[in-house]
Symmetry: C2
Subunit: 216 residues, 2 copies
């Protein structure tokens, strides 16, 4: 049984929960509260496990895995008999990875908790300007994603064709974040359509923040 | 022949140049100047090609590939007979990808040009505090990387064993950036040792910013 160090609202962890559910792999959720006790991810017990002091971390036997996209690729390689999370052709895989990285590199890290904390504590950026910051980078990223998805015939029911891929595992948590910060989603009909298709699947429903044992 | 849309100082493009050189794949460099003319990456000719308006983009026949890590994986899959840029075992691949993503997600995007421009133009952050920002995130990321590299017996002459991987393709450009912003590198002996091993190879030397046709 896998052990997943998780925070219910962490979108990087949410990606991994979706993939584990899609693959039908059982896992134990070990909550790490990112805000309580000065941030439990900074405590010695966790930082020994994951020096980056970020969630998620996935424990598979003796191996401790970090970085959500590396974990998604690992799960897909180690359990190839379950539905694959990457398409069969190299160009398709490159497209899916680029979509996932557009979220994981260009949106998520810039709006991550520690960056927002730095803006507040070290640069004295007021709350409303921090909210503008979050919405700015999310909108910039979603503008690109909407174009990449709507203009490419390879897009299907999901981000790439009619099977769920790692791009969908990244997209749905990012849309969850967008709703939390009240980003208007009208300009993103393709993103909303794909989100709805994903959320019709039990694997996505069970991975949602509100369905977690540490949900508040 | 590949076409690589490149800016000499872009560390994401630098990663791809290293990989193309390691694989012995010929490519034509098409410079995109990120600072001139309001940023050539924003002009219609380029943004039609890559809606993200970021470098690199790699053209392989009819396919336009973006996101440097997706490109590295693509090159490795499409040209497996040349030295592989990923180890043979799933746990090793997960480690190498996590090291690469620690750079590509946790350091690079936060210090990227467009974020620094937003700090200056929208938040009026003075130059010295922007420099502190850049050094802060680079040091935070390098602290993690140094620990991951120095404490794991899988580290060899390079980030993982004695063969170059995508982790090394990401590390060397990030060290280049660190030197540019005068980050003290004394706390990172393992990173410096691996950088030196990489820079002894012609593939890395020819990919360096100073060796590019658009170098200034």
């Amino acid at each position: 049984m896998f052990k997943l160090y998780s925070y219910f609202r962490s979108s990087a962890t949410y990606r991994v929960r979706i993939a584990l559910n899609l693959k039908g792999l059982p896992y134990e959720v070990l909550p790490v509260h990112l805000l309580r006790n000065g941030g439990e991810q900074h405590q010695a017990a966790y930082s020994r496990l994951n020096p980056a002091q970020l969630v998620p971390a996935l424990v598979d036997g003796d191996a401790v895995l970090s970085q959500s996209l590396a974990i998604l690729e690992y799960l897909d390689e180690a359990h190839p008999s379950t539905p694959s999370l990457l398409p069969g052709d190299a160009i398709g895989r490159a497209r899916v990875r680029a979509l996932a990285l557009t979220i994981a590199c260009e949106i998520h890290p810039i709006n991550n908790l520690r960056v927002l904390q730095y803006l507040k504590r070290s640069l004295n950026v007021p709350d409303n300007e921090r909210d503008n910051w979050s919405r700015h980078w999310l909108a910039a990223g979603f503008d690109v994603l909407e174009q990449l998805l709507s203009e490419n015939p390879a897009t299907g029911r999901f981000c790439h064709g009619d099977s769920v891929t790692i791009a969908d595992c990244c997209l749905v948590p990012q849309v969850f974040n967008a709703r939390r910060i009240n980003l208007p989603l009208d300009p993103y009909p393709t993103i909303r359509r794909i989100e709805a298709a994903c959320l019709s699947l039990e694997a996505f429903q069970k991975a949602a923040p509100g369905a977690q044992p540490d949900a508040e």
